[in-house]
């Protein structure tokens, strides 16, 4: 315990990462000011024809998909009884909780009147809209994640009585988490069901909700592996030995699950093409891009995962997890930005402005900094000495 505090104290301040983060924060602050004084148009290339850009495509859609690690891990451990991965729960919950908070934070930038975000629930309910369901589930799941994460914070604060009650809720929260996640991961896909004339037929399909949900499971699994790799590189000294022991088994177990889920996802995507008889589109330019996404970011990682699991080679699995995470990002951007408005002539197509990318980087940097703050202080990567009871 003590060497952890010592390590915390002795960290140098002026590391290249810190400097880079500081610059991003300054720029981000300026852009935020500009956004909330001169409107969305001042900091983005969004227009009436392309109302949604990378804030929705990346921050919201990809952010939510990559934060699926939370429900996937807690389901695996608590519901499917995979006790051997117990150490992976807290980091996954932390990533999930941080992911969702950043999604809501990013939403404040993208939405025209952010102070009215509670309106759909309190003032006038538009229940016919998929967005209503997404909003409701994201809000609820955010609270569920907060509760699931609170034991780590409470341990750090030493409030053991509250911690005891919260720990008793874990099972209930896990089941609620899985339900809410199934709902909004799928309905994020259902958002685009409403615009069949704008999304390219290869990406548009009545199965969109299912594609989004299944790919979010793969994303969750890969994110856990990816996140544990990063944590192991950067914050190894904060890990207790149980965490270190389970480092590779988690990779194998989750890698195997990810391989199976990716195989299922690939099959479903092919079924989607068959359902709408879109085979002819595969031979067009868009077809090539679609096959690039499918073979490069679904088949390839699935294959690499299976190789890694068969040969017990964690490096291949960790590489596959990175590719899957990028694949999810590509798929979400494809659906929301790249293949959207596919018939609009090329010169009028949308491309994010530097400031938009700047604000997205700003939000990611905040996420990383908060993650570092929590992981170095709260018992996430290690067991707090006073609370040995394993629930």
């Amino acid at each position: 315990m003590t060497d952890r505090i010592a390590a915390l104290k002795s960290r140098p301040l002026l590391t290249p990462f810190n400097i880079f983060a500081a610059i991003i924060l300054v720029i981000g602050a300026f852009l935020t000011f500009k956004r909330f004084t001169q409107g969305i148009g001042a900091v983005s290339n969004l227009t009436d024809t392309h109302p949604w850009g990378i804030w929705i495509g990346f921050d919201l859609l990809t952010g939510v998909a990559l934060a699926a690690g939370g429900y996937v891990t807690s389901a695996a451990v608590h519901i499917f009884g995979k006790k051997e991965y117990h150490s992976a729960i807290r980091p996954a919950i932390l990533t999930g909780f941080l992911g969702y908070s950043l999604v809501v934070f990013a939403l404040l930038y993208d939405v025209g009147r952010p102070w009215k975000l509670p309106y759909p629930f309190l003032v006038s309910q538009g229940v016919t809209s998929v967005m209503f369901e997404v909003g409701a589930c994201v809000m609820l799941y955010l609270t569920v994640l907060f509760l699931e994460f609170s034991p780590a914070a409470l341990e750090w604060l030493g409030l053991s009585k509250i911690r005891k009650t919260v720990v008793r809720l874990t099972m209930l929260l896990t089941i609620l988490g899985v339900i809410l996640s199934t709902l909004h991961q799928s309905s994020l896909g259902a958002l685009f069901l409403l615009a069949p004339s704008k999304l390219h037929p290869l990406w548009y399909s009545p199965y969109l909700p299912i594609f989004f949900f299944v790919s979010s499971i793969a994303a969750g699994l890969s994110m856990v592996i990816f996140e544990s790799t990063m944590a192991h590189k950067k914050f190894e000294i904060y890990m207790d030995d149980r965490h270190k022991q389970e480092y590779n088994p988690v990779a194998f177990g989750f890698g195997r699950a990810a391989a199976l889920v990716l195989a299922a996802y690939f099959a479903c995507k092919v079924f989607g093409i068959a359902l709408d008889n879109n085979w002819r589109f595969l031979f067009t330019g868009w077809g090539a891009w679609f096959l690039f996404e499918l073979s490069g970011f679904v088949l390839l990682p699935c294959f690499m995962y299976s190789i890694g699991v068969r040969d017990r080679n964690p490096k291949v699995i960790r590489a596959a997890s990175v590719i899957t995470v990028l694949g999810i990002m590509l798929n979400r951007l494809n659906v929301s930005v790249i293949a959207f408005n596919y018939h609009v002539p090329a010169d009028e197509r949308y491309f994010p402005s530097i400031m938009e990318i700047g604000i997205t980087l700003f939000i990611i940097t905040i996420g990383i900094l908060v993650y570092r703050f929590i992981v170095t202080r709260m018992p996430v990567l290690y067991k707090h000495p006073d609370y040995e009871d394993v629930h």
Partner: protein, 44 residues
């Protein structure tokens, strides 16, 4: 698409192909599951 004029024909073609794909997928998935067998003894 040239031979397809009615919803019935459209569904017949698409559902037909999907069933074939589904059978192939199920066989493949079982093989893939075994392919990834993580028998305990090779755990460490």
């Amino acid at each position: 698409m040239e031979g397809i004029h009615t919803l019935q024909e459209f569904m017949f073609q698409t559902k037909g192909i999907i069933y074939i794909l589904a059978v192939g997928y199920l066989l493949g998935f079982v093989w893939f599951w075994r392919f990834l067998k993580m028998d305990k003894k090779r755990e460490q």
